[in-house]
């Protein structure tokens, strides 16, 4: 198992309701999640706004520290590991962010952005690895000299992917990475991701609010609703025979590009 997550809880202090003395009350974002991510799996995490899916992603990468439960990555408990101890493991777990405008440093060129993690993790032959990563995501090598704001939305998202795969991690978390894209760029990015998973043997967790995209890409799916897992299982089964009422609502609400769909 790549990830074993047991009874994961996470709450954040609500500073707007902090009393004069004493601690602020906490808002529970994740309320006890238990699931596994097997080696080589593509796991879809789906839910509406406020369901806690992004918080879950950031907890899995330990950008946030859980308040309860445990996260085991490759057999090691990382729930409360200090940042210094996490650092060497970071090479194995990477992330692609939702908004490439915010996740790509505007004052670095594309080449520098992709090289960043390689530098930090002490790789050698960085120049060659950067070009290789650009090749893999289908961007021309000349893009290494461009700034992020000179690229289109789909191209920026490819830079984000290139940065994540340059380290050749075992696990990648993709947080809503196609939600801001047009359908044609979305199709390109999804196809690219599918290809990379196959070629590099990646394990992928894919966060999305779009059931159609999840269906296309993921072999397992987990449905979140207000910080709880309401349903999880193989994607095909979950779509064919949804158990939870919320899953059924979600599926029913999707407008398919099909005039004959009964949308009652």
């Amino acid at each position: 198992m790549m990830y074993q997550i047991k009874d994961l809880q996470l709450s954040l202090p609500d500073m707007t309701r902090k009393p004069l003395l004493g601690a602020a009350p906490r808002i529970e974002i994740l309320r006890g999640l238990t699931f596994d991510v097997p080696q080589g799996a593509v796991l879809g995490i789906v839910g509406g706004s406020g369901s806690g899916k992004s918080t879950l992603g950031r907890a899995m990468l330990r950008l946030l520290e859980p308040t309860g439960g445990s996260i085991t990555f490759n057999g090691q408990d990382i729930t409360h590991l200090a940042e210094d101890d996490l650092r060497p493991m970071r090479a194995q777990m990477q992330m692609i962010f939702q908004d490439p405008m915010s996740s790509l440093n505007p004052r670095r060129r594309v080449g520098g952005i992709i090289a960043g993690p390689l530098h930090v993790q002490g790789h050698e032959g960085i120049g060659a690895k950067v070009l290789e990563a650009l090749d893999m995501v289908g961007l021309p090598r000349s893009f290494a000299n461009r700034y992020p704001h000179e690229l289109s939305g789909g191209q920026r998202q490819r830079v984000g992917i290139a940065r994540a795969i340059a380290l050749r991690p075992e696990f990648i978390l993709a947080d809503e990475i196609v939600s801001g894209l047009d359908v044609s760029s979305q199709a390109q990015v999804l196809n690219l991701l599918q290809e990379l998973v196959r070629e590099l043997g990646l394990t992928l967790a894919f966060i999305s609010h779009d059931m159609s995209v999840i269906r296309r890409l993921c072999d397992r799916t987990l449905v979140l609703y207000r910080g709880e897992i309401v349903e999880q299982g193989p994607t095909a089964a979950l779509f064919a025979n949804p158990q939870a009422a919320y899953t059924r609502d979600l599926l029913d609400a999707i407008p398919l590009p099909d005039p004959d769909q009964v949308w009652a």
């Binding site: 950008l63 962010f97 908004d99 996740s103 790509l104 930090v120 380290l167």
Partner: protein, 283 residues
């Protein structure tokens, strides 16, 4: 905000050329003062007192911009005064910038207790009227170049700390910072390699602004006779003298004032110009 600024077509080049040109001229004047000043700036001669500038009747050759009530040449005093003004601008501006930026970055990026301490000091500092604070410090430290520089740094570091703290907080919330953490970068490394380049254009604009302010602070201190000893010419000292005799000899006030005005304006416009010109995101 960025988009709106990008839409406005500004004569970028002209602004940089004018402000840079004036400051260069001033720097040359300061460096070459003993050789290019037509008169000894300290030489007093009651026979040449209150001479008008060259185009008025009664002017004397060699006193191009006239002379003050003690017969000292206004132009020569302005040229010599540039030395002190520029030294204060460069040294005090740079020191203030380094200290204020460092504290602002730490407060804005690390948050927590460093932020609480630094912000508290900023609050206290903001409750002082700056000019009064400066005068008070000079009274304590005694007059002199070093005292002026120390006073400026002690008073104005908050200008950088406040602005840079806010910017660092905004930048710290961006995903590229989270991305650096995912890559395993240390916090100090992220601050220097990711955040600092993004606040640098603001730092540059603040730095040149601060240089202009340093010149003004020096002038204000000279104005209330608290700058450096009276035998070196300063623009503020000239303005102070000119203010009292403005009805008899307007030129004693006007020429140092114009010099000061353009210098302060050039410093601030230089910063804005550089910021717009060399920021890859704005272009």
């Amino acid at each position: 905000m960025r988009d709106a600024r990008g839409d406005i077509k500004r004569p970028l080049g002209l602004r940089l050329w004018l402000s840079g040109g004036w400051l260069l001229l001033l720097a040359l004047a300061a460096l070459l003062a003993p050789w290019i000043a037509p008169q000894d700036p300290l030489a007093q001669d009651l026979f040449t007192s209150r001479l008008p500038p060259f185009w008025e009747s009664g002017a004397e050759p060699g006193f191009w911009l006239g002379s003050d009530s003690l017969g000292r040449d206004v132009l020569s005093r302005i040229i010599h005064g540039a030395r002190l003004a520029l030294i204060v601008a460069l040294v005090a501006g740079t020191l203030t910038c380094i200290i204020g930026t460092a504290l602002g970055l730490i407060a804005g990026y690390y948050r927590g207790w460093p932020d609480r301490i630094i912000s508290r000091f900023v609050d206290i500092w903001m409750a002082f009227p700056p000019v009064l604070f400066a005068i008070l410090l000079i009274a304590v430290l005694g007059t002199g170049l070093t005292s002026i520089i120390i006073a400026i740094v002690v008073i104005d570091w908050t200008r950088f700390a406040r602005v840079i703290r806010a910017e660092a907080m905004t930048q710290g919330a961006m995903d590229y910072v989270a991305s650096a953490q995912v890559a395993g970068r240390k916090r100090m490394g992220t601050m220097l390699a990711e955040i600092l380049p993004n606040v640098l254009p603001t730092v540059v604009a603040l730095l040149t602004l601060e240089m202009g302010i340093a010149v003004i602070v020096e002038a204000i201190l000279s104005f209330v006779n608290l700058s450096i000893s009276t035998d070196s010419p300063t623009w503020g000292g000239m303005i102070s003298e000119g203010r009292t005799s403005v009805h008899q000899a307007w030129w004693v006030l006007v020429f140092p004032l114009i010099t000061l005005f353009f210098t302060v304006l050039s410093f601030s416009q230089l910063g804005e110009g550089l910021k717009d010109r060399f920021d890859p995101v704005l272009r």
